[in-house]
Symmetry: C2
Subunit: 152 residues, 2 copies
């Protein structure tokens, strides 16, 4: 449990947008969006969510923590796979409802649970009036099935 | 109104993650998260949301459209300021609940409503046990107050 607390977001727009206090605008579920890019080449690696605890732990430890909406649990990214995210820089946006993490990924340098470096491995196009996907050719960097296997 | 429709997201995880159909997983409010970066240098410009209509129009026109949660309206980004976003590439992530747009910004090359190039103009740090913000030195590229003034 982190002791770090965040002040309530100010109603005053100027204070929110130009002030020097981080006062995240958590949504109804208590979450802000987190965008994660590689600090080296800027590749978009993943989009996730943080509650106050995940955000506080990320700030205090320098290792990215999220809130898993599917598991409804705090999520230290890479705890199972070894692909921890070391935070090089954290930013927030004008209205403080999104967090940007520039990270260095440890382990296999892979972020996606499919084993790929990035979750964004498919491009979107239009073909015969339908929105289609095409892989960008990236391949898994670790054996996801083996790594995430439940203990027997 | 766009005629482009998206199929329902498949329950099968493999089809969702490895298939070639864009079947966005819209949330309870009918939205997916959109992450917008500069196609030139990869700078994170903004995070926004898209409903099916905004996504379809973006695909069909090549100009970024979003759903404004505050105004509850379709939002052709840059319509007032001239800072339209020309989409160079669109991607989606493994579970198809996020869209990545790599864009070229027209007009003033500014995306933030404060007039700055990016909405992410403040870094987050820890100081005396408090989460603080520091500006990155970027300045407005256009007069936001003048541009967004309501007609008298």
């Amino acid at each position: 449990m982190s002791a770090l607390q965040f002040p309530e977001a100010p109603a005053d727009k100027k204070a929110l947008e130009e002030g020097d206090a981080l006062s995240p605008r958590f949504d109804a579920a208590g979450l802000v969006t987190a965008v994660v890019t590689d600090a080296g080449d800027g590749m978009l690696l993943m989009v996730a969510h943080m509650n106050a605890e995940a955000l506080a732990l990320t700030l205090e430890t320098g290792i990215a923590h999220y809130w898993s909406r599917s598991r409804k649990a705090l999520w230290k990214k890479g705890e199972t796979s070894g692909n921890l995210q070391h935070v090089v820089e954290m930013r927030t946006d004008c209205d403080q409802d999104a967090i940007w993490l520039r990270v260095k990924v440890l382990g296999h340098d892979a972020t996606c649970h499919t084993g790929r470096r990035s979750c964004f491995y498919r491009t979107v196009g239009l073909k015969d009036g339908k929105a289609t996907l095409a892989g960008d050719g990236t391949r898994p960097l670790f054996d996801a099935e083996e790594t995430y296997r439940e203990p027997a």
